[in-house]
């Protein structure tokens, strides 16, 4: 047992020091205030959180949550069929298929967003094409609005949704579907009543991943939404880099982190409840 602790100690210590401690400091800073020059003064105040409650910032928060929700829904609609399709591929094509979907996931958000900029901007691909074809006279403002941001988010986060759903579908016991079919269920009914409910854990996992990632996203809104874009991610980035209001930025981050944690905990509780039920069945057997 001692050996186990020894092995895991370096990693744990590292994370405590470079992840845990910074988070604690951020919490502390969120209750601090600052000098006009941006220095942090550690006197306890709730001003930052109170400021968060102002209508302007609440609005941004709500916008962010709404965007995240919408992104989650859209990625679900696009991602589920894709995951399902991959799982139905012949065996040897499944891993390549999966790799194909996951490759964009590894390319960073910046480059992927930039690719859309190339396509959507005034001198970009679409506009140039449409102008050449004579379908429009002036370039369309495809970029630097909320729709562009949404597009960018969905594009960035789609693989996050696909993988958990795929894993969930793949772990499905296909004999259940055979049983359903044997009992007279048409393909779509079997899907609706057997496949889909049983893959909900995968959907939940993917949704959590997408939602939390959307909440904290700032690259996509920054690159594709421009100056107009105001999601929490941009706001936080702003506080730390331009506005130099670290206490306020910290408060916002803590709100974000807490929200993410709450969701994760809820998710784990839900998963445990499901697994707890299954475990009890095993014990009886």
């Amino acid at each position: 047992m001692r050996k186990g602790k020894l092995l895991v100690a370096p990693a744990i210590s590292w994370l405590i020091f470079f992840f845990g401690v910074p988070m604690l400091i951020v919490i502390a800073v969120s209750f601090a205030s600052r000098t006009p020059y941006g220095q942090v003064i550690f006197n306890f105040t709730l001003a930052n959180y109170q400021r968060f409650l102002e209508p302007l910032y609440i609005r941004i928060f709500v916008d962010t949550v709404f965007t995240a929700l919408l992104t989650t829904v859209i990625t679900f609609c696009l991602g589920y069929p894709l995951a399902y399709c991959i799982s139905k591929l012949p065996h040897k094509w499944q891993q390549p298929g999966l790799i194909l979907v996951m490759i964009p996931f590894w390319i960073n958000f910046l480059i992927r967003s930039y690719a859309w900029v190339v396509i959507l901007r005034s001198q970009g691909l679409i506009n140039t094409l449409l102008l050449k074809l004579g379908w429009i006279v002036q370039p369309l403002p495809l970029l630097y609005n909320d729709y562009a941001v949404m597009l960018g988010m969905v594009y960035a986060l789609l693989p996050f949704m696909v993988l958990p759903i795929y894993v969930s579908i793949e772990q499905l016991d296909h004999r259940l579907l055979e049983a359903a079919s044997d009992l007279g269920a048409k393909p779509f009914t079997a899907f609706r009543k057997v496949t889909f409910p049983l893959t909900l854990p995968g959907v939940a996992a993917g949704s959590i991943l997408v939602f939390i990632s959307s909440l904290g996203m700032f690259v996509v809104p920054d690159v594709m939404g421009g100056a107009k874009s105001a999601l929490i991610g941009n706001l936080i980035q702003n506080q730390f880099l331009s506005a130099r209001d670290w206490p306020f930025g910290s408060a916002l981050s803590i709100v974000l982190a807490v929200l993410a944690l709450v969701l994760i905990v809820l998710y784990y509780k839900a998963i445990q409840k499901q697994e707890g039920g299954a475990n009890n069945e095993e014990k009886l057997a």
């Binding site: 690259v219 991610g233 974000l256 982190a257």
Partner: protein
């Protein structure tokens, strides 16, 4: 696969989504060879933007930084992560759930929070921002990914094997050297590759902890994008993309194949 209109429609739909995923990347790649300075119009095939990159001192510097930081981060996070994965996998101890949680938390918390928390840490401890802080930050977020990857490989390993080795007179070190390590190696290498890729690719966290003289490639791309479109960005992005893709394909090939091994056991 049953050939009916339903699965054909599904297949077509999926191809469309896949196209949606790849088209922008392909277009970007295409345009990196475009002779025109104003992107959209195609005026000819050329390598000149790539050549320009090679002569761009700032790019070369950023490249060197990225590679160096990635190398060091990969090295440290792979070692620490492998040790942690070994511990998690073979030993049970009291606070296992808590430790598990702590190890996976960095992946779940939004990157921006981790980035700025490190910035706050470094500023409050008066550590100047630069290559060192970048390395420290990169190790931090790579750790969890290495642990997951190596752990996955270890999970696929039968528990009996190490016991069999012990029964056959192998001391713990010999068991590790002859059995555990060789079998875990593909997972460790995959973990290292993933760590390397994440480090090279990282933007958000680097954004917060980089100093004035320590740019990485993604940061450089960002600066260029903000300043205005230059076709060099296309070339640079394409280079980064293909580096990432290659690394990931290699890592995936080394990963245990979840689907087939599960079927084997059945």
């Amino acid at each position: 696969m049953k050939k009916n209109w339903r699965s054909s429609a599904l297949f077509a739909y999926s191809l469309a989504i896949l196209a949606f995923l790849y088209l922008p990347l392909l277009i970007l790649t295409l345009y990196s060879f475009n002779d025109s300075r104003i992107n959209a119009v195609w005026t000819g095939f050329t390598f000149k933007w790539y050549v320009a990159l090679l002569h761009n001192q700032r790019v070369l510097e950023a490249l060197t930084n990225s590679l160096m930081i990635a190398a060091v981060s990969t090295f440290v996070s792979t070692i620490l992560g492998t040790m942690a994965a070994l511990a998690l996998n073979r030993y049970t101890y009291k606070y296992k759930a808590v430790i598990n949680g702590l190890l996976y938390l960095p992946i779940l918390i939004p990157e921006i929070v981790m980035g700025l928390s490190l910035l706050v840490l470094f500023s409050q401890t008066s550590v100047p921002l630069g290559k060192v802080t970048l390395i420290l930050a990169h190790i931090t977020f790579c750790l969890s990914f290495v642990i997951i990857t190596v752990n996955a490989r270890l999970e696929g390993m039968h528990k009996d094997l190490e016991q069999a080795a012990s029964d056959l007179y192998a001391t713990p070190w010999q068991t590790f050297r002859y059995i555990t390590f060789p079998l875990a190696l593909p997972g460790i290498v995959a973990g290292a590759l993933i760590a390397f890729t994440l480090s090279i690719d990282d933007f958000v966290i680097s954004f917060f902890v980089a100093g004035p003289n320590s740019t990485t490639l993604p940061l450089y791309v960002y600066a260029m994008v903000k300043r205005g479109i230059s076709p060099e960005i296309n070339a640079l992005s394409t280079v980064l993309m293909f580096a990432t893709i290659s690394l990931i394909i290699i890592a995936q090939v080394l990963q245990p194949q979840h689907t087939s091994s599960k079927k084997e056991k059945e």
